[in-house]
Structure formats: structure tokens, C-alpha cells
């Protein structure tokens, strides 16, 4: 049985009730076609927070409880960067599942807080790995590679998933990115990496007298056909020939995808624009099942999280952008009637040090260890997963200790969202216990 059908069937009973009413803006456009729309199966959107997101200012302790002076420790270590919060405030999440302190989201995470209240957002505390690397590049390699921190990077965890489930002529993953993210590095898979689908087309001579698109496209496709033939070329030539050939074939399919109406429309920053590309593909595929692109796996990233200085101004802005964009994208999936098919997962290469550096005008934080992540979607079991690590029991570098290995998160996604129990073991090179934010 193909992966699409397997996962769709598993969820079809649970999801009937999860269909929300389409947003009025789209209702007129979708009309009766929604009744015939067939959602494309389990969809995954990975949102990378590049630079090391400060988890401690994302999910924040509000108070002290007996035995766990989380708030007062937080305030002592962060005289300038501490976020003011009142008990039971607008972004309050409730009690830490183990320690009991009240936890809250950063005040700018207003929109995702609403999703939390609806049970569609899971926040996961204390995520990291042992032998934490404090180097961006090494730690990214670890998160992208999905192996232990002592193993060198070779293929991406998602690249290995694609290799195991798809062939070299499939194209089911899109990286809305300038350059292909290493989490997709694989042996035999294809991933489209474009920042804007409008630019996914062949250029032609600007002078209309000399435009020759038909003959040129034929020549290019024919030539690349030979370049992709292992009897004709080898090595790097063959690699470029092969991926170029698939690209040329898929170009016609993607040509039909256009932006369309979206809740992301008013947001002009990079993350929102990139999520809108994802949303456009999902919209097209949902409304045109007969000529769908078949793309189901996406990656986008937002930079700027490496807040060594001036975190007080930079981080709240990032939280605001993240919250608005994630939620608008989620709303798009609700309007399309596919929210229960779409899982959005954030991740970052590490958190940041508990103690701030610098002074009142420029305080920031250095690289840290354990951080947090979000899982958002109609199929998510919302809630707080994992305790906020003890701020009085830091590692020898002054960083938060992890309790949830990042590979547990990947295992949860692989086993419960993309595949079946146990599927994660060959992909991650080991067995990891899964979390409850998916069933």
C-alpha cells in the first residue's frame, strides 16, 4: 500500500469532525468544489528558526513554586532580557506538567496562543541532545542529519525518509529556499528548491523577433535526457543532468500553480511569503486533484535568531512574525478543509544561555543547549509536553539541560504522521520513544 493511502485511511475517521468552516473570503471561490476536494494525505511543513531560538524567552516561567524557584532565578540571570508576565495573563499556558510553575508564551505569540487554547498547538520543552555542540554549523548538521552528535553528517533525516518511500522520478518535497537545505540530502530523491514559483520557468530571449521557446525547450530537454543517462555521463555531470532533467519535466506541472487568496496576503516578510508559496501549492493540489503537483513535504526558514546582542528588540519582533505567519498559514489550511492533514513543526539548532551578556542597551545571549519547539495542526494533540528544565541545575556551560532527544520528535512525526510505528528506526539509526502530541 502506498504511503498516501495508508496514512489517509488511518486518519479519515478522526478527521471528519476536524473539518472547520471555510473562511468567508474563500468560501465564494471554493463553492461547491470543496465538497469534491480530496486532501493530498499527510503533509508536513518544517519551519526552521535559524540561529538558535531562545527557548527560555519563548516559553517563560511566570512564578516560583516550592522547590523550583524558576521565575526568581530567571529574573536574576536576565536583569535586562526578562519578559514581564502576570499570572493568568493573555499568553498563559497553565502549569508545568512536572514542576508546577505557571508557564506562558512570549507576549508576542498571541496568535499561536489562540491555537493552544483550541488544542491545536503542542509546545515541547527541553528538546536537545547529549554532547551539545555550541557551533551553529555542527549543531545544524546534527539536527539536519538526525543522527547522534558524535556521527558526521552524510544524509539528511528527511532525505533518508524520501529515499525509503519514493523513487528517483518522484518530486514530492519543496524547499522554499535559495539553496537546498541539508535535511533533504539524500541518495536518490528529488527536491524542488525555489523561493518563488513564478520564477520556476525557462527564460527566453527578450527580443520577441528571436524568441524560440519551443525549439529551445525541446533541445534542452533532449540534451538533458542524455546528460541524465548513466551510459552517457558519470559523476557530477550525471548528478546535474539527472536533477536538471526531473526539473524540466516537473516545470509544466508547477506552471499552473499561482498565488491565490490567502490569510498570509497582508504579511510582507520573508517567512510569510515563503509559507504563502507552500499554501499556494496545497491550495492548487486540493482544488485540482487530477493535475496535482503531489508535493507534500515542505521546509521554510526564518533567520535572525542568533541574538548575541540586542535581543531585547530583536527577539520580540521574531516572535511576532512567527506567530502571525504560522497562524495565517494554519488558517489557510482550515479554509481549504485540510487542516487535519497538515502538520507544521518548528525547530532550531539550539537554545541560548540562561545568563544574559552585555548591558542594558545591548543585552543578548550566547549559544545554549536545550530549547523548545511547536507542533501546530488540526491533527495535533495540543498541550505542554515536557517540563521546563530546572534553571538552578544547569550544565557545566551554564545551559539548560535537555530531557527530550530531538530524535524523539522526529520519531513521533515519522511513526505517527508519515508512516507506521517503528518506521523511524532505520531512518534515525536507533529506537526512540515517541511523544504524545500526535496519536
Amino acid at each position: 500500500m502506498s504511503i498516501d493511502r495508508r496514512s489517509f485511511l488511518k486518519r479519515s475517521a478522526a478527521t471528519a469532525a476536524a473539518f472547520a468552516t471555510p473562511h468567508p473570503l474563500l468560501r465564494a471561490v471554493l463553492g461547491s468544489s470543496l465538497a469534491h476536494a480530496s486532501p493530498p494525505g499527510a503533509i508536513l511543513v518544517l519551519v526552521q528558526l535559524e540561529g538558535g531560538n531562545d527557548g527560555l524567552n519563548t516559553i517563560i516561567p511566570v512564578d516560583d513554586v516550592a522547590g523550583f524557584p524558576q521565575r526568581s532565578t530567571y529574573e536574576t540571570k536576565r536583569p535586562n532580557l526578562q519578559v514581564a508576565l502576570t499570572s493568568g495573563g493573555p499568553t498563559s499556558l497553565g502549569a508545568d506538567p512536572a514542576k508546577g510553575n505557571e508557564l506562558a508564551l512570549h507576549p508576542q505569540l498571541v496568535e499561536v496562543k489562540s491555537r493552544f487554547d483550541e488544542g491545536k498547538l503542542a509546545v515541547v520543552n527541553g528538546v536537545g541532545y547529549s554532547n551539545q555542540s555550541l557551533s551553529h554549523f555542527r549543531s545544524e548538521d546534527i539536527w539536519f542529519g538526525g543522527l547522534s552528535s558524535s556521527q558526521p553528517f552524510s544524509t539528511g533525516w528527511f532525505g533518508r525518509w524520501l529515499d525509503s518511500e519514493y523513487t528517483s522520478t518522484d518530486l514530492v518535497a519543496v524547499d522554499v529556499n535559495e539553496t537546498l537545505n541539508p535535511l533533504f540530502t539524500c541518495t536518490d530523491c528529488n527536491v524542488l528548491a525555489v523561493t518563488d514559483l513564478d520564477e520556476f520557468a525557462l527564460p527566453d530571449d527578450p527580443n520577441p523577433l528571436y524568441q524560440d521557446p519551443v525549439a529551445k525547450k525541446l533541445a534542452l530537454q533532449t540534451a538533458y535526457g542524455y546528460e541524465a543517462d548513466p551510459l552517457e555521463t558519470s559523476g557530477v555531470q550525471l548528478t546535474i543532468g539527472t536533477s536538471g532533467s526531473v526539473l524540466l519535466d516537473k516545470m509544466d506541472v508547477y506552471e499552473a500553480v499561482n498565488l491565490g487568496p490567502s490569510n498570509l496576503q497582508g504579511l510582507t516578510y520573508s517567512l510569510a511569503k515563503r509559507l504563502r508559496q507552500v499554501s499556494s501549492i496545497l491550495r492548487y493540489d486540493t482544488l485540482n486533484p487530477g493535475s496535482a503537483t503531489g508535493a507534500r513535504f515542505f521546509h521554510v526558514r526564518i533567520g535572525g535568531f542568533d541574538t548575541h546582542s540586542n535581543q531585547g528588540t530583536r527577539h520580540p519582533d521574531l516572535m511576532d512574525k512567527l506567530s502571525r505567519a504560522l497562524d495565517a498559514f494554519y488558517q489557510d489550511t482550515v479554509d481549504l478543509g485540510i487542516s487535519s492533514q497538515v502538520l507544521t513543526l518548528t525547530f532550531s539548532e539550539f537554545g541560548r544561555r540562561v545568563a544574559e551578556n552585555g548591558g542594558p542597551s545591548n543585552a543578548g545571549t550566547d549559544h545554549g543547549a536545550a530549547s523548545v519547539l511547536f507542533a501546530l495542526g488540526g491533527g495535533v494533540q495540543g498541550g505542554i509536553y515536557g517540563t521546563l528544565p530546572d534553571l538552578t541545575d544547569l550544565d557545566d556551560k551554564g545551559n539548560l539541560k535537555f530531557h527530550t532527544d530531538f530524535r524523539q520528535v522526529y520519531a513521533t512525526v515519522i511513526d505517527k504522521w508519515l508512516g507506521s510505528p517503528g518506521d523511524h528506526v532505520p531512518i534515525l539509526g536507533g529506537s526512540f520513544s515517541t511523544l504524545g502530541f500526535l496519536t
Binding site: D212, Y226, L247
Partner: protein, 470 residues
């Protein structure tokens, strides 16, 4: 030494420069290998710098320094390796305009690479450390005794001089070394567009680097300059301490690290340890940071090595966007005012002065992700269709690249493939597709055929996998 022929000259000029112009090849062949390599490697530092203005953080300011520098690379002659090394150092000692927000500082950093990029590595490291763009980019200017900031110190070890691990995978330094290094680097500020050392901000206490190792330095007041601004003599000098680091084989770490990076840039990935240990010999010399570790010596060793001319080193590496664009323009004698260049470089993934992170650009096949490959096609199309030069654009004169008295498309295709140095590599089926593209045309003096089919074929050839490689 290898047979000094056109193939090897084209290879050298492609790697040590930005591609061979057709009319210059025979001159370099005549010159012979030793003299050619020597001429390229041993150029005096140049003081030229891009025209960046003070405090200019505008897009126009960025584009003006980008076009200045690209033009210099695309038209370089005897100083081509010096310019290529500017590009290498810019990727290695990465700083980005988006963070630095100052076109003058980016220009000054570019000049550091041009002035010191072939000379003493100790001098280069020192000048980069106190360079305003770098002080801004990696928070060196806020690193003080009372509030140390680890950003630059970490990257100095991790990315610039030692690497995270040595050739055996053993870690080169600890987090404690990062902390100690940060202390050694305190005290620098940017004053009047210069990196200035202020003793009162400097942590003058004793520091220990590589504690417990045979090459431990300190406890001592390790730093860069004394209170008069003179370079501290080693072993007090931080750079001397870094250069003294030994790896798990007992070999000097920095030369192997630098040699590997340069070999991978100019030849192919994963060179053997034996090869690296060969080429570092003239670079290490007597091991005195003040007189040895001259970059030209390492480059000369690379370009004189037979392995540099092996099959593995040829047509194996993806050209970066600057190399792709410049080599196409040089091979086809394209003229331009270079104004369209910044937009093309951005689309291809290499906006000059704006590397994506302190790790520089992702090289190799990463350049050819779908969108970026298509952007190369768009550039190739733009120059192939280039018919103007005075306004924003390119000018290509097809007749300069083929013989218009030819009577068959086969001949024309072969001439053009030869001009682009890919004739031997393109598979027969692809060559035939290019011939078929001419749809039977035989009169190459007919302007309609030239404007449509010859230019079209040039664009197609620039899109083939072979032209992406060198």
C-alpha cells in the same frame, strides 16, 4: 611538472582566475608552467578598494561596490589570482553587508583581502580581527573586560584558523578555549572607520589557551597588541598561540586546515593527508609566524603539483556564480557596464558582500538547487541575447565566437563548444540535440539565423551541466 598545453592552461586560468579569454591562451602556454604559476601567485598587495561610502546601508550602495568588484574579477589579467583570493577570503572570513550596514566598511574589508591576501597569514588574521566590518559583524566591538562576547573568538577558532576538528576528527579546542580567547580579544572598538584598541576595555589578566596540551600558552597576558598598539611578541601574541596549535598527529593544525580548504576550493574534495603534508612544507618554512606562513607559497605548491592537473581536479567542481558568470563573459568576449550583475548574482545565490552566514556560502552542488540553476539559465540567456552595452545590459557579438562562413550546424556547434571549453565533455546525444536545434540552417551570414539560432545555441550551451563545472 606537467605537459604545458592548452588544456592545462585553460584549467589553471579557470581555477586560479575567472576563465581563459580565447586570445590569451597561447601566451600562457608559451610562458611555461613555472613562470605562469609564479606570475599568478607572487603579486604585491594592491590597495584598490571598492567605492563604498561611509554609513551607506542602501541597496544602491551595495550594488555599486558589487559591480566594482565583479568588473575587477571579470576583467582581471595578471592580478587574477589576487582577485580570486579576495573572493576566497571573503567567503572564509565572512562578513555581510546586511548586518554591517556600511558600504565603506565592506570596502575596507575587501581591501584587506587585496592587500594581504597573498602575503603573511599572520598579518591577514590580525588585519581581519581589527577590521571594522568584522568587529561589527561578530560583535568584536562590544567585547570588553566586564562583558565578554564570545562570537568572534569562537569563529576565529572554529572557522578561520583551526577548524572544529582536525583531520582525524579529534576536537581542536574546548568551550573554555572559546571563553579564554574572548578575553584575549577584548578592547577593540570602531573609531573613525578604523579598528582601535582601547587598553581600559582590555582584560589584562592572565589567560591560558589549550590548557594541558603540549602547546599550551599561558597563563600569560595573551592578546594582540600592547598599549602602544604594537603587535605583542609571541608567545604572548594570540595569533602565534593559534599557529602553535598541534593536532592529534602532532602536526601543526593551522597549515593542514588552510591547505585542505584551499585544495578543496581549487582542485577537489577530500585530499589525502599525504598530499596536504606535501604542499604545506613551503608554507610552514621554519614555522616563524612573523616571517613564514606566506600564502603565495602554499598557492604555488598547489598549482605546481601534478595532482592539480589530474582528471579528478578537472571538470569536477561546480563553478560558483561569480566564476560561472565571469567565465561565460570572458569566453564569449561579452562587454557590459555591469549594472545588471548584482541582480543576477543574487538570483544565482552569491550576492557579493552578503554571504548567508559567517560560514560563508555553501559550495558545490548546493549552487545548483532548482531555483538557482534556473537563475544561471536566465544569466546565460541574458548574455547570449546581449545586443546593447550603453544602457543596462550586455553586448555579445556572435561573429567573435564562430566562423560565419561555416556551412553546417555541426561545425558551428563544435566551434562554440570549443570556445566554452566543453567540447570534449558534452555527450554525443546532447551535441546532436544542439545541432538539431538549428533546424537545418546552413547560411550563417544570414542575420536572422545568427540572431535567433546562434545566440539560442549559445544560451543552451551555457545551460548544460558541463559549463557549470570546472
Amino acid at each position: 611538472m606537467v605537459t604545458w598545453n592548452e588544456e592545462n592552461v585553460v584549467h589553471l586560468l579557470s581555477r586560479a582566475g575567472f576563465g581563459a579569454k580565447p586570445q590569451e591562451i597561447s601566451g600562457w602556454v608559451k610562458r611555461g608552467q613555472a613562470l605562469s604559476v609564479n606570475l599568478l601567485c607572487f603579486q604585491k598587495g594592491a590597495t584598490s578598494k571598492p567605492p563604498g561610502k561611509s554609513n551607506d546601508s542602501t541597496q544602491a550602495g551595495l550594488e555599486s561596490i558589487e559591480t566594482w568588484w565583479f568588473k575587477r574579477m571579470a576583467t582581471a589579467n595578471t592580478r587574477r589570482l589576487q582577485e580570486k583570493m579576495c573572493l576566497f577570503w571573503h567567503d572564509h572570513f565572512a562578513s555581510s553587508f546586511d548586518v554591517v550596514k556600511n558600504a565603506l566598511w565592506m570596502s575596507l574589508q575587501n581591501r584587506v583581502f587585496r592587500l594581504h591576501g597573498l602575503g603573511s597569514f599572520k598579518t591577514l588574521v590580525f588585519e581581519v580581527t581589527r577590521d571594522p566590518a568584522m568587529l561589527e559583524f561578530l560583535d568584536g566591538k562590544t567585547n570588553t573586560k566586564n562583558r565578554p562576547n564570545e562570537n568572534y573568538g569562537r569563529e576565529l577558532q572554529e572557522l578561520f584558523v583551526l577548524g572544529v576538528t582536525d583531520l582525524n576528527g579529534t576536537e581542536n579546542y574546548t568551550q573554555n578555549d572559546v571563553v579564554q580567547l574572548a578575553r584575549c580579544l577584548t578592547g577593540w572598538q570602531i573609531v573613525s572607520d578604523e579598528g582601535v584598541f582601547t587598553p581600559s576595555r582590555f582584560d589584562g589578566g592572565n589567560k591560558t589557551l589549550f590548557s594541558g596540551k603540549s602547546y599550551q600558552v599561558g597563563p600569560a597576558n595573551i592578546g594582540l597588541v600592547d598599549s602602544s598598539g604594537a603587535l605583542l611578541p609571541g608567545p604572548q601574541n594570540l595569533i602565534d598561540a593559534l599557529f602553535g596549535h598541534r593536532d592529534s598527529d602532532g602536526e601543526r593544525t593551522m597549515p593542514r586546515f588552510l591547505a585542505k580548504k584551499l585544495w578543496e576550493y581549487f582542485a577537489y574534495p577530500n585530499p589525502s593527508k599525504a598530499l596536504l603534508d606535501e604542499i604545506v612544507v613551503p608554507f610552514v618554512g621554519a614555522g616563524n609566524p612573523d616571517t613564514d606562513f606566506v600564502i603565495s607559497n602554499l598557492l604555488q605548491a598547489i598549482f605546481l603539483h601534478d595532482e592539480f592537473y589530474s582528471d579528478q581536479a578537472k571538470s569536477s567542481t561546480v563553478k560558483n556564480p561569480v566564476e560561472y558568470a565571469a567565465s561565460a563573459m570572458r569566453a564569449l568576449r561579452v562587454t557590459s557596464n555591469y549594472k545588471p550583475i548584482p541582480e543576477h548574482l543574487l538570483a544565482m545565490g552569491m550576492e557579493l558582500f552578503n554571504p548567508p552566514s559567517v560560514n560563508g556560502w555553501n559550495q558545490g552542488l548546493a549552487w545548483l538547487s532548482s531555483g538557482q540553476l534556473l537563475s544561471r539559465f536566465a544569466f546565460g540567456q541574458a548574455i547570449a541575447a546581449g545586443r546593447i552595452t550603453s544602457t543596462d545590459g550586455f553586448k555579445l557579438v556572435p561573429k567573435q565566437s564562430f566562423d560565419d562562413s561555416s556551412t553546417s550546424a555541426d561545425a558551428v556547434v563544435d566551434q562554440l563548444l570549443a570556445k566554452l571549453h566543453v567540447a570534449d565533455a558534452v555527450p554525443p546525444g546532447a551535441r546532436q540535440a544542439l545541432i538539431d536545434y538549428f533546424e537545418g540552417a546552413t547560411n550563417f551570414k544570414d542575420p536572422a539565423v545568427v540572431e535567433k539560432k546562434v545566440r539560442g545555441a549559445i544560451a543552451l550551451m551555457l545551460e548544460l551541466p558541463e559549463f557549470q563545472l570546472h
